[in-house]
């Protein structure tokens, strides 16, 4: 059982400000049914369109998602839009007396919805963390394809919450919690944001004989690629290598997976990084 605080329990069992505001000035929506949680936030402003006079929410999600939404609406009522934008996810978590680390993404979702609502109201670009997959108006590059999360958003959460491990990033944002394919990228973002030196990395060799190249491709697939696929019950098999074309077939959970195209790209990216720049990965039946 989760170790929820009494405050979380109270805001889950008797959430404040549930519902819609039909003539809301601002509405922000994040998450989806597929992701397992979603929040729709409604804001009503005063006549100067400056201060939040009412806030309501609808949430699909677990107890901490519901409690975080309730806390968010309580915190922002009476604040100006600029003051509201300063509300951090930590503030939401603190209001609730803390959240289990695995549930911190619930507080982040609250803060996201608020940012989206205000950005939409002000007509600027919508912050790049609408979980709605591949939204065109989104800022930044998608890192986590499973949950549709961008680098810009991840960098902000890493920096705001001083996160040091990919596991923490998953707890706070869900990124990396699906297929796990983006965990290396998350580590790179952590290194970039937190100023850590990237770990000792393999270097791409200058020149390769054909034999050495084939060995290296096999080695990278075994050591760098397949363990990541195994983590989600997937796998791949190396079918053939012809020059710089590497033919692979997906196995188990990867076979028929809707994101196998992304996975093939990921494999290609890895091989280009460690073996040679001109590698092309082809998915074949086999």
């Amino acid at each position: 059982m989760w170790d929820y605080t009494d405050k979380v329990r109270e805001h889950f069992l008797n959430p404040k400000n549930v519902g819609e505001i039909p003539d809301a000035d601002a509405v922000g929506e994040v998450g989806s049914l597929a992701c397992g949680d979603a929040l729709k936030l409604y804001l009503k402003l005063d006549e100067n369109k400056e201060r939040i006079v009412d806030a309501k929410f609808q949430t699909f999600g677990c107890a901490s998602a519901i409690a975080s939404s309730s806390a968010l609406t309580e915190i922002i009522k009476g604040k100006t839009l600029d003051e509201a934008l300063d509300v951090s996810n930590q503030e939401i978590a603190e209001f609730l007396g803390g959240l289990p680390e695995e549930k911190m993404h619930c507080s982040v979702m609250g803060q996201e919805a608020l940012e989206v609502a205000i950005a939409k109201y002000r007509g600027g670009p919508v912050p790049g963390h609408d979980h709605d997959h591949l939204h065109p108006e989104m800022e930044g590059e998608i890192v986590c394809k499973c949950f549709g999360i961008t680098d810009q958003f991840l960098k902000k959460v890493i920096s705001d919450n001083k996160l040091h491990t990919a596991e923490q990033v998953t707890h706070f944002t869900k990124a990396g919690g699906g297929c796990g394919g983006c965990i290396p990228q998350i580590n790179e973002l952590i290194a970039e944001v937190m100023g850590d030196q990237p770990k000792e990395e393999r270097k791409r060799p200058e020149k390769l004989t054909n034999l050495r190249k084939m060995q290296l491709i096999q080695d990278i697939l075994e050591k760098e690629v397949r363990p990541l696929l195994w983590a989600d019950g997937g796998d791949l098999e190396l079918i053939d290598i012809a020059g710089s074309t590497v033919q692979i077939a997906f196995r188990k959970a990867c076979a028929g997976c809707v994101s196998s195209g992304h996975t093939a790209k990921f494999v290609e990216q890895k091989l280009r990084e460690f073996v040679a720049e001109d590698i092309v990965v082809e998915e074949v039946e086999g």
Binding site: F12, V18, L33, F60, G61, C62, A65, G233
Partner: protein, 389 residues
């Protein structure tokens, strides 16, 4: 608050008769069964009795029973032994819906160079035996396929599977932790080589399990040390656990018919009423043959952890295949393997009954559940859209 315990696939109440059976073996009859003196000998005789009782429930010979610490140990012992017996064979077959006791082990072995095939299931959770036929080969050391699924209760056709496996000379192991005591078994006429069972799923305490090992099937123990269990599982016997398991197996044989009649009728009524009273619900594995005590129901537009906690407020104990209860971010591997639609995979709740479940308890759940689902749907942006339609 009196609990309404409908989470018997997680663990069960120790039967009072089991507790009475083991009571003297803590402070009075505490001898070591290996000792030469009368004081240990009387415990040894009680262990023999427990072995006979356990064997009787399975339709097995007493010497085919090895007591272990839990179902997980039995699974590990069986699979690891098979790989040692056939060092030249490098292929393992299992399913995508196994309990982690088997699945995690197989995935770890695949990282150590074994070829592991995870059979898929259809939308009802059924296996395709043609897929098994196509992948089992001379390189296959062991096929490990569960008897009944812990999350959905779906029962696999163990004897048909075993017949296919035997043709290729591989060993067949089944994790029967959820099936023992609910499905009649007769190892004497079975194709199963090894089987895992767990005491705490059938009203014995936690910390005791057993493994069935067919006579004549070679075995390499991974616990070595003393001579206990005929050198097949070293370590001083968990005497009270073993005696408890024996008693609980005797009782399980006695109550097997009731599990499949009265308990099944309670489950069927619970399921039918949920479907009648709450719209947009599906039964996971509803089209398959299932254990008599289990129902996994998926509620659209709501999330499982929230349902569980609201049920818990009313004293009702159930479990969920939702992501949020486990700390992972995706719904259970079983529901994903079955392709349960994403609109309801996060809202799946498992109710698992036992012979202690009553009509009144079913009534209470039927009374409490609809308003809980209604309340969460009103709270959910998707649920509201649906309710307004």
């Amino acid at each position: 608050m009196k609990e309404i315990y409908f989470d018997n696939n997680a663990t069960t109440k120790v039967d009072e008769a089991v507790f009475e059976e083991i009571r003297p073996y803590f402070c009075e009859l505490y001898g070591n069964p290996s000792s030469m003196h009368f004081f240990g000998g009387q415990v040894q005789r009680k262990i023999d009795e427990a072995r006979n009782r356990t064997a009787a429930l399975l339709g097995a010979l007493p010497e085919e029973i090895i007591f272990t610490a839990c179902g997980t140990e039995s699974d590990n012992a069986a699979i690891r032994s098979a790989l040692e017996i056939f060092p030249e064979k490098r292929h393992i077959i299992t399913t995508r819906v196994e309990h982690p006791a088997v699945l995690t082990l197989c995935r770890n072995l695949s990282k150590r160079g074994y070829r592991v095939t995870e059979l898929t299931v259809d939308g009802d959770g059924n296996l395709d035996l043609d897929e098994l036929r196509a992948v089992v080969d001379d390189d296959t050391a062991i096929v490990s396929i569960m008897h009944a699924n812990n999350e959905t209760g779906v029962i696999f056709p163990i004897e048909k599977i075993g017949a296919i496996v035997k043709e290729k000379g591989a060993l067949f192991h089944t994790d029967a932790v959820q099936a023992v005591g609910k499905v009649p078994m007769n190892m004497a006429s079975s194709t199963v080589d090894m089987l895992a069972l767990s005491g705490h799923k059938l009203h014995a305490p936690k910390g005791i399990g057993a493994m069935y090992l067919r006579k004549g099937v070679p075995f390499r123990p991974f616990m070595v040390g003393g001579h206990q269990e005929r050198n097949r599982r070293a370590g001083t016997e968990n005497t009270v656990g073993i005696i408890a398991l024996g008693k609980s197996c005797e009782l399980a044989g006695h109550y097997l018919a009731e599990e499949n009649s009265r308990v099944k009728a309670l489950r069927d009524r619970l399921e039918a009423e949920i479907l009648r009273l709450i719209p947009n619900v599906r039964v996971n594995g509803g089209g398959a043959e299932r254990l008599p005590n289990t129902t996994s129901v998926a509620f659209e537009f709501v999330e499982g952890e929230a349902i569980l906690l609201l049920l818990s407020e009313k004293g009702i104990c159930a479990s969920s295949g939702s992501a949020c209860t486990s700390g992972s971010l995706e719904p259970s591997h079983v529901l994903r393997a079955m392709g349960v639609p994403f609109t309801c995979a996060h809202g799946s709740i498992r109710f698992s009954l036992s012979r202690f479940s009553t009509d009144e308890e079913v009534d209470a759940i039927i009374g409490e559940l609809p308003p809980i689902i209604q309340r969460l749907r009103e709270l959910s942006p998707f649920g509201r859209e649906f309710l307004q339609k």
